[in-house]
C-alpha cells in the first residue's frame, strides 16, 4: 500500500506538539512529547557520564522544565528537539558537572507583532535538512559529532563539527534577531 504524502512543507510533528503544550497547556500532548524525548534524554545523559539513577532524576528535572518553560519556546528560532537539547545540556552541566552555565543576556522574545507561521515552517525545514545532512555523513564523522556533544572528544577532529553546513540556519536566526532589535528600538521610541 502506498501512502500519499503531501508535498507541502510542514513543521515537524514534535515542534507542533510543543507549540500545543505552550499554547494550550495540554497534558496529553506533553505525554506524547515525553514518550518521544524522555528515552533519548536519558540515553544522552547516561552517555555524557551520568549513572542511571542520576540520569533518571535529571531527566525528570529536565522534562518538568520543558513544561514550566514552554511559554519561552520560540519555534521561529529552534525546533522542539533543539530547544529541549539546550535544557538537557544545561541540566547536565548543573546537576552532573556541578558547574554554573553562563548564558547570553535574555532577549524579550514576546514582541508585539504576531509570529509569521511561514517562519516556523521554514526554521523546521532547515533543521530537518541539517538532520538529513548529518545522517548522510560517513559513520565515523557522525560519531565524532555525537562525541563532541557528549563531551567525549578524544581526537583532533573537532573540525568535522565546525565544518557543518550551518549557513542557512545561521542567517535565518540572524534575520530574526535583526527584526527583534528593530522592534525593540521602535518600542522604545
Amino acid at each position: 500500500m502506498r501512502i500519499l504524502k503531501s508535498t507541502k512543507p510542514q513543521t515537524d510533528e514534535w515542534t507542533q506538539c510543543l507549540i500545543r503544550v505552550k499554547n494550550d497547556r495540554d497534558a496529553q500532548q506533553f505525554a506524547m512529547l515525553f514518550g518521544h524525548f524522555a528515552p533519548r534524554v536519558k540515553a544522552f545523559l547516561m552517555k555524557s557520564g551520568a549513572s542511571e539513577a542520576l540520569a533518571d532524576d535529571a531527566l525528570q528535572d529536565a522534562m518538568v522544565q520543558v513544561w514550566n518553560k514552554a511559554h519561552l519556546f520560540d519555534p521561529t528560532k529552534a525546533s522542539a528537539a533543539t530547544w529541549i537539547y539546550t535544557i538537557v545540556r544545561n541540566k547536565q552541566i548543573d546537576a552532573i558537572r556541578k558547574q554554573r552555565r553562563p548564558e547570553p543576556e535574555d532577549l524579550p522574545w514576546a514582541t508585539t507583532s504576531p509570529v509569521d507561521p511561514a517562519d516556523i515552517v521554514e526554521m523546521s525545514q532547515q533543521e530537518q535538512k541539517l538532520r538529513s545532512a548529518i545522517k548522510s555523513l560517513p559513520t565515523d564523522q557522525r560519531t565524532m559529532i555525537e562525541k563532541a556533544y557528549l563531551g567525549e572528544l578524544s581526537h583532533s577532529e573537532i573540525a568535522d563539527v565546525t565544518g557543518l553546513p550551518l549557513g542557512t540556519i545561521k542567517s535565518r536566526i540572524r534575520l530574526g534577531l535583526e527584526r527583534l532589535r528593530r522592534e525593540m528600538r521602535l518600542g522604545k521610541s
Binding site: 524522555a38 547536565q92 553562563p102 557543518l164 540572524r174
Partner: protein, 218 residues
C-alpha cells in the same frame, strides 16, 4: 546591549564547544558576555545548538523506569519549579548581564587587587579548569609582562587596546595561546577594562589543543 562595531569575534571552535556544553566555565562566561552584545555570534551559537538537537534526535533510546511519566506529571501538578523568581530590574552598566551575575553588579562592585604599574585585577569564582578575571589597565599603559601558559580569551568591556597591529575595542575578543608573545597596550584617553579566561596550565593537555587545532594549525 548590542554593538555594531564589533570586529573581532569568537573563534568558531570555541562557539561549537560552548553550544556542546563542554567549554570550561570561565571561557563560557566570556562567550556568554560577548554573545550578549553580538548577534552574529549569538546566531552561530544557536546554529550549533541545532546540531545538538539533531544529536538528541539520533541518540539511542534508554529504557525508562515504569513510573517516569507519572512521577514527572506528579511533580508538575505540585507546581515544582514553576515559580521562577522574577529577576530584579537591573540598572545598565558596562558589564553584560552574565558577567554582572558573577560580580554581583557593575564595575563598582569589583574587588580589585593591584598587580603593579597601575594595573589591577580581580579573579572571578569559576570552576577549576580555567580562570576568569577582570583586568584594569590605565589609559596608555601596557599590560605587565604576562606569559600565556595556556589559552587565553580576552574581551574588552571598556576602552580599547592595541596588540601587534590589531586594535580591540568594546565587545571585541582576542584569542591568544602560548605561541603568541605579545604586549597589549591600552589606548590613551580611557582606562581599559577586560574580561579574560585563561586555561590552567595543568589542563593544557585537555580540551584546548584539540579544540583549537583547526585554528592555529598546531
Amino acid at each position: 546591549m548590542t554593538s555594531v562595531n564589533i570586529r573581532h569575534h569568537l573563534p568558531e571552535a570555541v562557539v561549537a564547544a560552548y553550544a556542546a556544553g563542554t567549554l570550561p566555565e570561565a571561557f563560557s562566561l566570556v562567550v556568554a558576555s560577548h554573545a550578549s552584545m553580538c548577534d552574529q555570534c549569538r546566531a552561530t551559537i544557536q546554529s550549533y545548538e541545532a546540531v545538538g538537537g539533531a544529536v538528541l534526535e539520533q541518540v539511542d533510546h534508554a529504557t525508562l523506569s515504569p513510573d517516569a511519566l507519572a512521577a514527572t506529571m506528579a511533580r508538575i501538578s505540585l507546581g515544582d519549579g514553576a515559580t521562577a523568581p522574577m529577576p530584579a530590574p537591573e540598572r545598565k552598566t558596562i558589564f553584560p548581564k552574565p558577567l554582572m551575575s558573577y560580580v554581583g553588579g557593575g564595575p563598582d562592585r569589583v574587588k580589585w587587587r593591584r598587580v603593579g604599574g597601575g594595573v589591577k585585577q580581580a579573579i572571578l569564582p569559576c570552576d577549576g579548569e580555567a580562570t576568569a578575571r577582570l583586568i584594569y589597565i590605565p589609559a596608555g599603559a601596557a599590560m605587565p609582562d604576562h606569559s600565556h601558559r595556556g589559552m587565553e580569551l580576552t574581551m574588552v568591556l571598556q576602552g580599547a587596546f592595541s596588540d601587534d597591529g590589531d586594535r580591540f575595542q568594546r565587545g571585541d575578543v582576542e584569542m591568544g595561546d602560548d605561541s603568541l608573545w605579545h604586549i597589549p597596550v591600552a589606548d590613551p584617553g580611557e582606562d581599559c577594562i577586560c574580561l579574560a579566561a585563561t586555561s590552567a596550565p595543568l589542563r593544557f593537555k585537555g580540551w584546548v589543543p584539540r579544540l583549537l587545532q583547526p585554528f592555529f594549525r598546531i
